[in-house]
């Protein structure tokens, strides 16, 4: 039971932490999610489908601004993930998204699709046994499960620097990014709390083409990226001993201003605050997990900057192999 409980909690938390929340079909989306394999399991296959609906944006000053009248802007992502245990404390995962952009304006209609940016993750588990407890009897029972990770984003999606006709074709950002991640997770049945901190650095790259037109080459770098997410979960065991886990999360995402030829690009960078709610169903006899998540950007002034305001609906299924 303890094992299944961990699987459900992590699966739920991962969906809320999805960095796909920054995706933007008009300016470079298609980010993939991260996967974490529970202790003592060998591998995991995860399939999920995101529907992201756009409803305005925060402008440079943080004020909520509506999309053009009669517009309907959406992005769909199908994420294929695989996680594999490399050793007793090491695991790696890979997530590949496929992205569909569907943007309708009063005077324009666009539908495009391609692979998004791929994410490769490596995690170290700084604990030897299951850290979940039923009751706190001593200090050690309060110790969380700590994961230290690195994530490499590969620019496999279509970016503004490819041979594309316009901005609607974009499904990725076109840059490598390396993230350092810390995940702390503590469960005292039936409650759990999870904290994720992530800091990412983009690699500078040359650009010689913009939206299909060759330009004078220059060097471009996106700003450093910070993600913090805090979640709380509650698990309900059903009569069948299947379980339902409810997870509520708050996330903060910030990207600093980037550079062009080494000088600060003051039109870049963004910020976003969002909340998410996930319901996870885990079966008793096998390791199937079904998930549904709703992620909502806090759509008030100053909750974001220079970024679309979106709602993301995710459904997914995970198969864990022991």
């Amino acid at each position: 039971m303890m094992y299944r409980f961990m699987v459900a909690l992590l699966a739920g938390a991962i969906y809320i932490y999805s960095p796909g929340v920054w995706a933007a079909s008009c300016c470079g989306g298609g980010s993939s999610t991260s996967l974490i394999l529970p202790k003592f399991s060998k591998s995991m296959v995860d399939l999920s489908f995101d529907f992201e609906n756009y409803d305005g944006f925060w402008n440079q000053d943080g004020f909520v601004t509506p999309d053009p009248p009669e517009s309907d802007l959406n992005q769909y992502r199908f994420n294929t993930g695989y996680a594999h245990r490399l050793g007793s404390n090491w695991q790696a995962s890979l997530v590949v998204p496929y992205v569909w952009n569907q943007n309708t304006y009063a005077g324009l209609d666009s539908r495009t699709n391609d692979f998004g940016d791929t994410q490769v993750n490596l995690w170290y588990e700084a604990f030897e046994t299951v850290m979940c407890v039923w009751k706190v009897n001593e200090w050690e029972d309060l110790m969380p499960a700590a994961y230290f990770g690195a994530s490499l984003t590969l620019p496999t999606g279509t970016s503004p620097y490819n041979d594309v006709a316009n901005s609607f074709d974009i499904t990725g950002r076109g840059f490598y990014r390396l993230d350092a991640n810390l995940l702390l997770d503590k469960t005292i049945y039936p409650w759990t709390a999870t904290l994720l901190l992530s800091y990412g650095i983009y690699q500078e790259r040359p650009v010689n083409r913009e939206y299909g037109n060759y330009v004078e080459p220059y060097e471009k770098k996106l700003g450093d990226r910070q993600l913090a997410s805090l979640s709380f979960g509650y698990t309900q065991f059903l009569d069948s001993m299947d379980s339902l886990t409810y997870t509520l999360a708050y996330s903060y995402l910030n990207e600093d201003q980037g550079t062009i030829n080494g000088k600060t690009n003051y039109t870049s960078g963004f910020k976003k605050n969002a909340i998410g709610f996930t319901v996870t169903f885990s079966t008793l006899d096998n390791d199937w997990i079904f998930k549904g998540t709703y992620n909502h950007a806090l759509d008030g002034d100053d909750y974001g900057r220079n970024f679309p305001i979106t709602d993301i609906f995710t459904i997914g299924v995970t198969r864990v192999f022991r």
């Binding site: 008009c26 944006f57 590949v96 939206y211 060759y214």
Partner: protein, 182 residues
């Protein structure tokens, strides 16, 4: 090792199976591949004679590009779809570029609204009702197509009608240096 093999296979798959874009991004080039274009002929590339057009502004007044060049030092076109990137460019232009060039005409071209009424509504809700620039409505994307533009494209045309810039606005550095020399 099986995971490493999986990663290698996948990247190879993405790179080779019709994913030219992935290869371009994973191995980006700094080579200058701008084509040599014939100067002084009608076109939209730098050095060519800018294509003329007439489209309405958001008050339904027809605006002809060649007429706007008369008596001014030049014209700047910026293609907007009222998105965060567009707003960051436009607000930067409004604060740091437009005030410095009073004898240059600045036009934000809305290519997504499809009608003057909707474009006017978008203009107002986005807060771009100032008098130092105008918002034009490219209802059928004819100007966008002619200038090979997209979200964020900025075009500079000098007083003699020659295209001096046609590329993404980026951080405004390049457009500023070009306008200084008009």
């Amino acid at each position: 090792m099986s995971f490493v093999r999986l990663v290698i296979v996948l990247i190879t798959f993405l790179t080779l199976t019709g994913c030219e874009n992935a290869a371009d991004n994973m191995l980006p080039s700094s080579e200058d591949k701008r084509p040599v274009v014939e100067q002084g002929v009608p076109g939209t590339s730098v050095g060519q004679i800018a294509l003329d057009f007439t489209i309405p502004d958001t008050l339904n007044n027809p605006v002809t590009m060649s007429n706007e060049l008369v008596g001014s030092d030049g014209v700047v076109l910026y293609f907007t779809m009222w998105c965060p990137v567009c707003d960051s460019h436009m607000s930067h232009m409004r604060a740091h570029i437009i005030p410095n060039y009073p004898n240059i005409k600045f036009f934000f071209i809305d290519y997504v609204s499809g009608s003057v009424t909707i474009a006017r509504s978008a203009q107002i809700s986005n807060g771009y009702t100032g008098t130092s620039y105008s918002v034009l409505v490219d209802t059928d994307q004819s100007v966008l197509t002619a200038y090979r533009g997209t979200m964020g494209t900025a075009v500079v045309i000098d007083a003699s009608g020659i295209v001096q810039m046609n590329e993404d606005y980026k951080d405004g550095t390049k457009i500023n240096s070009i306008l200084e020399n008009l």
